[in-house]
Symmetry: C2
Subunit: 180 residues, 2 copies
């Protein structure tokens, strides 16, 4: 499917409510465990998504739209949230993410993007030349990937509890080396 701003926005604007529906009130037994060292719990993922709003997607879109000789992105810190959110509750992170995402989408609308501007280039520190259209597509996929990750990490809390059913439940075994 080709990128389409309206269709992409339909996913981006739903993510805070999807995460709230999945996570609010389920309890720390589901939301605090991760899949091992340097992997994310559901709690971590919300922090990581907040980092994305503050340091990744819209800031990078602004670098692209500002143009210039070298529209180079800042590297992204995947573990910024660890220090930032010590002592926070999941509920407060869900609220913060919802507020920040609302601001991000208001900013996105204010860009009044057309097809030509969607083709403008940025310079990614590791990927090289990318377009604004690719950045916004990656934002959508990033959201959905982390919803899938949260569901998987929660499911794995019952890996032993399901007994012999483990062989019919691929979500428990498809990621022997988890990637976030």
């Amino acid at each position: 499917m080709d990128f389409d701003l309206l269709r992409a926005t339909r996913i981006l604007e739903r993510t805070p409510a999807s995460l709230r529906a999945l996570l609010s009130g389920v309890g720390d037994g589901w939301t605090r465990p991760n899949e091992g060292p340097d992997t994310f719990s559901a709690f971590d993922v919300i922090g990581h998504l907040i980092d994305g709003e503050e340091t990744d997607w819209i800031p990078r879109a602004k670098i692209i739209l500002a143009g210039g000789d070298d529209p180079r992105f800042q590297p992204y810190d995947r573990f910024r949230h660890r220090e930032r959110n010590k002592g926070r509750s999941l509920e407060s992170l869900l609220e913060e993410f919802e507020r920040l995402r609302g601001q991000s989408l208001a900013t996105l609308r204010s860009f009044e993007l057309d097809e030509a501007r969607l083709d403008l280039p940025g310079n990614h520190p590791r990927l090289g030349r990318v377009s604004l259209r690719q950045l916004l597509s990656a934002w959508v996929v990033h959201d959905l990937g982390h919803v899938a990750q949260i569901s998987r990490v929660m499911a794995k809390q019952y890996t032993d509890a399901v007994g012999p059913w483990v062989q019919f439940l691929p979500v428990l075994t498809d990621h022997p080396v988890p990637r976030s």
Copy 2:
């Protein structure tokens, strides 16, 4: 984590709202494609979850609780939904699933399960002896696995659109042979 009825119910009771938040109104471009032959689209998954309410989880729990010499489950038809839901809208399936899940949880509560009854056995056509506790754990994991699957299948609609970002978005590449 050990199975706990209250903790498990917190996931089971949230799934209809999670799916509604993810899917309602996003459009067929996101919800109708699948990952290839004999794999599920988001639309198919909702039908499959409805099949689970009608033919799998609670019906099998009832077989276990009825006891008898051979508490044998009926085989589960993973493609029952294909014929059943032809011509249906996603919205009507989301509503139906929400209603059926509410009934299932009311039935589950009516069982007034204690630790001893959670250990009662059933006879699975392929897995052999399983306990009610394992059945209910598998129900929770099955929900979460299909939320992960829906997110993944939707994300894959933008596999080409993200361009070079594909290497940083494992949800696009972690399932070369998709399993439902």
